[in-house]
Amino acid sequence: MTVIPLVLYAVAAVVYAVHFARRQPQIGRAATTLLLLAALVHTFVIGMQTMEVGHVPFANPSRAVSTFVWLLALSYLYLEMSTDERAMGVLILPILAGLQLVPVLYPGVESLDPVLDSPWFWVHVASLLFAYASFALAGVLGLTYVLQFTQIKTKHLGYLYTRLPSLQVLDVMNSRAVTIGWAFLTVGVIVGIVWATQARVTAPDDPNVQAMALGDPKIFVAVLTWLVYSFAVLARRSLGWAGRRAAWLSAVGFVIVLLNFLPISYFVTTSHTFD
């Protein structure tokens, strides 16, 4: 069932690319309509999976990726509609389609460790997934900003310069994505701390729960991520770190997020290895 959103994302990616190259308004509208449709179908798929297993499907890594793609699509749609700027779709849509391949190729079964079956868990994971989706978006926007900035600074005004959004729009989009991501990250981390504290009492024998401390790599990097993005939000407001500095910061921040998501989750951490 996850294959239908994949096909729609892929088709939308192609239409966004055509719009990027030819810049015809009607193709742009078609691209957005397709993405809306993809997001809608994806919502339906996730709704079905939720009904099937009785909770939002993200206890299994591959389904978590699908939920991540869904949230990223929604965040991107919000940014596109609030700024009326479609050029970023050419970068975001391939990411959506590429990641959506994961749940299609490795469907996986949703199974839940009993210690995780708590409302806290859902808030914790949903907030963090949404935060990471926003950071992914901010990272791509940041890199695009740096690219566009360099092009204008060095007076290389070619194909990409004409098509990419203005620095101002990229900066506004980046600021929104970082702020929203930071808010959800904060909620996710706080809920995680509260919940882990409770679980220590209720599940004294679970090795995962006992490993939950700042010294655990996954938790440490999550806190580091929070510090980096808190700095980004603060620096923009009080130090005037907008534009290129903010752009670099969001790119670096997302590299840390990626580290946490992939290698650390699979190889290093001892606290978040539920299967």
Binding site: L167, Q168, R244
Partner: protein
Amino acid sequence: MHLLLLGVSHRTAPLDLRERLDFSSRDVGAAVEALVTQSSSAESVVLSTCNRSEIYVASGDPGQTREELVRFLGQYHDIPADAFVPHLFTFEDTAAVDHLFRVAAGLDSLVVGEPQILGQVKDAFNTAAERRCSGPLLNRLFHWSFAVGKRVRAETALGEGAISVSFAAVTLARKIFGRLAGRRVLVIGAGETSTLTAQHLRTHGASEIAVTSRTLAHAEALATEVGGHVVPWDDLQAGLASADIVVTATGSQRPILTRPLVESAIGRHRSGPLFIIDIAVPRDVDASVGEIEQVFLYNVDDLQGIVRENLSRREAEVTRAEVIIREEVARFTSWYRSRAAIPTVVALRQRFDSIRRSELQRLEGKLAGLPPDAKARVDEVTRIIVEKLLLEPTEQLKALPDEETQMVYTEAVRRLFGLRDDPVTEPVRPSAGGPDTEEDAG
């Protein structure tokens, strides 16, 4: 009915002659009316801009009308014929359609792809339409040309990219600041290009324009012209600090903006970029200013480089635009040809309908006994039969590929169905060799 175009443009006539043949400085509407009343043309539109004066007319006898138009031009503008006739171009039918479509698309403009011309074509047509001087042919032709102009702009990059230094600067500013609303501009030194740039920035939304100059009077004059305010020369640093866009155009021999000056003016905690446009020769801004993190520095050479690149890119788009125009000319021509079949089609319909009516009349006595709704049904059925019989022949007549075939077919239809009378209802004048007049002559 034929389409005839007579005119001069920047390609065929020097400026002083174009000025003498210009209609736009006088009442174009009156000229259009005079054309219809004083010549054999049935419809007319006059397109007059600084680069061209063109007369489009619909005429049954293009040869005669051309002579009348030449005479009209001479009299109207008070110029002897031999002064302008060598510079005059004449196009008929398809060639005239092709020319108008090229004009509307901006292909015939001095600066290829410039956007004003489409509006000027629209104005020219509206002037004629308001005075009821354009008719079925020119109405269709001009509306078609608007669509062609739009299509070329939408499907090619013909009109893209700034082609003047001041517009290149505005385009860059928009790539940096997005919408320019709320942006503050500082103009240092008054000059033609800096005035133009400031005006463009203002039209694109820049909210505040500050002007400073060593000579206060110059600053005041420019400030009045662009709707800005004057900043004293001594407050240059403060002006820099609050500006988003700086335009410099002083006659100074030495750089006015140096790196230390700009750095201390914008301070360390400035978050937004500063876009400096240096239009002055020799340069007003030291090259090292461009190394400051938030500063984008463009001088007049950079901007001219952009303009050159845009111009050559536009040239490359011409071929694509021409493909579209060829396509549209073919479509228009086929519409126009289908229109020539209309008199025959109308005659055919009238013939069939009169047969139907007379047969119904003949049966009047026998049908008298029927209830009214049954009678109505008989009438309806006979009408539908006639419609269905005529559907295919009508389509076929309208879709004939060329004039010659059309003549053969209409002649055949007229003979086969005995269409003697010319049933023309719309005011189409007899055209030489036109299929609809063959029978008239005989």
